[in-house]
Every structure is written in structure tokens, then in C-alpha cells.
Symmetry: C2
Subunit: 327 residues, 2 copies
């Protein structure tokens, strides 16, 4: 019997999560039994969607729900071998034992850094891909607005729209992210909503209206976008980060849905399993060809996972926020 | 040259429209020229959707935009004959001359009162039919919530859902309308939102959640419905009467769209022209068979059109509000 570390939720956050809501806890770790593997966490993901779960299905005193990439360090399993990399949803544990259920072996392309499998080629990437192309039914050359375009999902959605020949406007909350979106990602217009009034800036930036609004924010962002929606426009709803910590503004312009016959529809990454093969092939090509660029904010050390999650709501990430646990 | 009367908008309403925003105006009326007809208004429609137009595309000092049923009283037209009834969109004029464009001859069933062609068999009827069955993609036996179920559109939508074997909950703002919906229209549950708190009442009335919310109100109604939506539920958005006079509450629960993958989509009656033939056949049968019941509030006299429109926002109509101008 050895020990491992886990990140626990120890109380329900009120508003924005704070360090005291979490604890790093030592836990017993059994040996891998017959048919089991012992896994070492390599990379962990922290994502905005984790926030609402902290007041819902996340148990207190148990590992934070989540996933990442781990390496098999000991195997008594029929097909999994020592050294294999796997994707898992086993939550925030430094090492853990598994019977293999819920693990998916990861065949990483040696020409790409492993971390891209946690964002552009991972859950946030297929969220952007499926949300934009399937839920949003994007057509080549349309007018597109992406909120939190500097984030892990938004930055991929905005660049896929550019690849499809669209006119793309992004919003973001810092001058640094705005510069990256304009100069590196190549968006047509970028709005720093902390530096300028969103609604008039969006109006000026969308002279031909908006066909697809990729929605990550809700509240004032949605109210600014609704009057700009074109006939039969679509609003794929990926997230509403403005509402996750409670409070925020109510949305007042929804009647714009009626005359413009706008369709607004929620989705989650797991809706797009049927797109996975096409997504992986296309995204691998776009990454290698430099058509999709990315930023990462990688915190070193398992114990920094709460800091990473908290930082998401303070905009401390550029692109995808990751926790690096081991090489 | 003779004269006619018109209803004009003389100033833009601020908030709820009042009598002083309108005027009954005498206007010159030419004879019907070659290829033209002279028409006498029979019934005029007033509808909630007219309110936002008063601050948008409705010109000042011109007949109120709208439509109704008129009778040809003089014809120099090739196909329209004296005595023909027509549907028109010529606005609020007592008599008027037309070259026939925009007129559709009405073949009224002699076993039905003419007034039903202004609601259940008219624009509000096909709005309910298309919004529920096409935009809402209603399936037999689903869980349905209809707001302002006592109104001209809502009452038809709720009864079509009953015909399709659904469990149907309606909301309305008076005890009289609630009684009609329960006892005459046969809804499964009725909420008088002026007499009880909407959100807990809706939760109690929808133990199996909501598959389709037929949205006429917005604001607090939408916030009450969103947390009750089932996986892949639909919210066809017909109207948002709570917002039309300005003010109203912002909507705070839109993030429920995400995890339940709810689709919310606006529509207007003119989207459903392709359904017209099927709609007229089915609705005629439902009306004759007593499966769709209706209420009407008919004001006698052309000059009462502004009173009718104003009354809509004070809930003074039971079912469809009409203005009877001539027999």
C-alpha cells in the first residue's frame, strides 16, 4: 500500500471559487490487481464548465471531477501496457488504479507537443469544431462573432471560421489577448470589452450583421449580439461564463430571435463523438500547417490545480489552462 | 370623390400605448378605376405583434399596418366580383381601393362563423400550428407548456397539443381564462400567474419536465420554464409580450440551454405558407368537430380599433380580439 494525492472540494463556493474551497489530500493507493493498471497523471485540464458542477454533482470530500492524460506505470491488464498514454475522466488524482474502463489510449503524433491533445486536439477542440460546424451549421464565408475568443474553445472556433473563409470578430478581456487574436490568429476585428463599450463596438465591427454567434459568455454579450443577428442566424451556446459564479445581468433582447428567426441551441462536447475521426484528421493537419495557432498556460505541479481553476474566472489564462503533473 | 376613415398613429407610444397615440382620420376616397375594386372592411384584427411596429416601421400619419377581411362593393377588376370576401393587409381603413395585389379571395365554409377566419383559421391559427408542429417539432404524447394560453395563438397551440395526445400546461392572467382553459379547452393544468408564484407552480405542474415550451411572454415566464426543460427540448418563440412595452425582467436562466441541449427558435406566421393547405383542412375539421374551441372579443365599430389594440396589453380580451366594421 502506498499513497497518492487528490484535490478535494471541501466546501461549496459562494460566487467565485477561492483557495479555501479546495484541499490537497493524501489518500491510500492500492496495488494494481489482476486486470488493472496503475496510472500516473501527466496533464490535467481545468475548464470553465467545471464551475457549475461545484454546486451540483461534485461530491464534497472526493476528487474533483475532471480528466486529463495519464501514463500507465504498472500493468496487469490484457491490452494496456506500461508506457501507454491514455485519456481519462478519473478526476484530480496524482496516481490511481483503473480496470481500464473509461480509458482511451492516446496515439499522439510525435510531431506535435503532447499538450495539444488537451486543447486543440482534445475536448475544447472538438467542442469548438462541433459547436461551430454542426450545432452552428456554419457555411463558408459567413459573418461570425466569437465571445471569449482568447479562450481555449473560442480561439479554436474563431480560427476554424477563418479557415472556412468567414469574416470573424472576437471579443476578449485584455489587450494582450486582443493583440494575439489580431496579429497571430488573424481575426478580422477584435473587441476588448474591458476597454470599450461592447454593444457599439460590436455594431461597428459587424457591418454585415452576424450569421453565427458562438456563445461562451451570456449576459451583456448576448444582449449586444442579438440585435446584430441576421435572418436565420444561429447561436450555438457553448457556455455562459458570466452566469457561472451567480449574479450577472439578465438578458433583455431575446425578442430579436423572433423577426430574424434566430436559432439558439445548447451543446456539450460529448454530442460530437460521431465527428471524432474527421475532427482529429482535420485538426492535426491544421495544427501542423500552422492554420490553427494556440496559446497555453501551464502550471507546474499537481497541487496547483485549484489555482488553475480559480484563475480561469480571473482571466489569468492565455488560451488553454493546464496543470503539468509529470513528464 | 367620397370619403373614408382611417386609424392613424399620431405619436410613438412610450411604454403601453394609450388612446392619445391614435386618431380616427377622414380621408378622401377615389372611385375604383379600370382594373380596380372598392372594398368595405368587415373585420379587422388587432394583435400583440403590432406593438413593436409602432416604434419601428409604422409610419406616423398613415393607416395602422394590419389586416383583416373585406368585401368587394364595386369591381372593375377582371376576376374579383362584387360580394367577394377577401383577406387583405391594407391596414386600418374603413373603405379602400385596390388593384387586387395582396388580396386573397376567402372561400368561407358556410357552417363556420366568418370570424374564425380571423383567428383559428387565420393568422393566429397558422402561427400556433406551424410554431408548434414545425418550429417546435412536437411529437405525440410530449410534455407541453404554453404561455398566455388564453390568447388567440396560445389557446390554439394548447388545443393542438391536446389533439396530439400531449400533457399540456397553460399559463394565463385571470381566473376566468383559467377556468375556460381547464373546463372548456381541457388542459391538464392551468396556472394563473397573477394569483400564484409562477416558478413553483410550473415546477409542480410539470412533474415530467417540459419537452416543448410554446413561448409568448419572455421574462419571468422564460426563466420559470428553462430549468424545467427536458433533454433536447424545444422553445419555439412566437412572442415576448412582456418586453413589448419596454422594461420587464431580464432572463437569467439561459445556461439551462446548454446541458439540456435545448433549441430555442423564433418564427413568424409567414414562414408557414407551405403548410397552409394541410392547416386549413385539419383546422376546419377540428373546429367542426369541436376539438378546437375558441373565444372571441369583438368590439363593434371601426373607431374602436385603438381601444382594441390597447386592451390587448391590459388583458381585456378573452381569446382573439377583433373589430367588427360591417356585416
Amino acid at each position: 500500500m502506498s499513497t497518492t494525492r487528490q484535490i478535494h472540494l471541501v466546501r461549496r463556493p459562494q460566487g467565485a471559487p477561492v483557495a479555501e474551497d479546495f484541499a490537497v489530500v493524501d489518500a491510500d493507493l492500492a496495488e494494481a490487481g489482476e486486470g488493472e493498471v496503475l496510472l500516473q497523471a501527466v496533464l490535467l485540464s481545468v475548464d470553465p464548465y467545471m464551475r457549475p458542477r461545484l454546486n451540483a454533482d461534485q461530491p464534497l470530500g472526493a476528487p474533483l471531477l475532471g480528466g486529463g492524460i495519464a501514463r500507465v506505470v504498472q500493468s496487469r491488464h490484457a491490452t494496456l501496457r506500461e508506457g501507454d498514454l491514455v485519456r481519462h475522466g478519473a478526476g484530480m488524482q496524482e496516481r490511481f488504479v483503473s480496470d481500464g474502463r473509461g480509458l482511451r489510449v492516446l496515439k499522439a503524433d510525435p510531431d506535435l507537443p503532447l499538450s495539444v491533445y488537451m486543447h486543440a486536439l482534445g475536448g475544447t477542440g472538438i467542442t469548438a469544431y462541433g459547436g461551430l460546424l454542426e450545432t452552428g451549421a456554419l457555411k463558408d464565408g459567413e459573418q461570425v462573432f466569437v465571445s471569449t475568443a482568447g479562450g481555449a474553445v473560442g480561439s479554436v472556433a474563431a480560427q476554424i471560421a477563418k479557415i472556412k473563409g468567414c469574416y470573424v470578430v472576437g471579443s476578449t478581456g485584455s489587450a494582450e489577448k486582443a493583440a494575439w487574436l489580431r496579429d497571430v490568429a488573424g481575426l478580422d476585428a477584435v473587441i476588448n470589452y474591458k476597454a470599450e463599450a461592447l454593444a457599439p463596438a460590436l455594431k461597428a465591427a459587424t457591418p454585415k450583421g452576424i450569421d453565427v454567434y458562438f456563445e461562451n459568455v451570456g449576459g451583456a454579450h448576448l444582449d449586444a449580439a442579438l440585435p446584430r443577428m441576421n435572418l436565420r442566424g444561429r447561436i450555438p451556446v457553448c457556455g455562459m461564463i458570466s452566469t457561472y459564479n451567480g449574479g450577472g445581468e439578465g438578458v433583455r433582447n431575446l425578442s430579436a430571435l423572433i423577426y430574424s428567426r434566430v436559432r439558439m441551441e445548447g451543446f456539450v462536447a460529448s454530442d460530437f463523438g460521431h465527428l471524432n475521426e474527421r475532427f482529429e484528421a482535420e485538426m492535426t493537419g491544421w495544427l501542423k500547417g500552422g492554420q490553427v495557432k494556440y496559446q497555453e498556460t501551464i502550471l507546474q505541479g499537481f497541487e496547483r490545480a485549484p489555482e488553475g481553476l480559480i484563475g480561469l474566472f480571473e482571466g489569468r489564462n492565455a488560451g488553454k489552462m493546464l496543470i503539468a503533473v509529470a513528464d
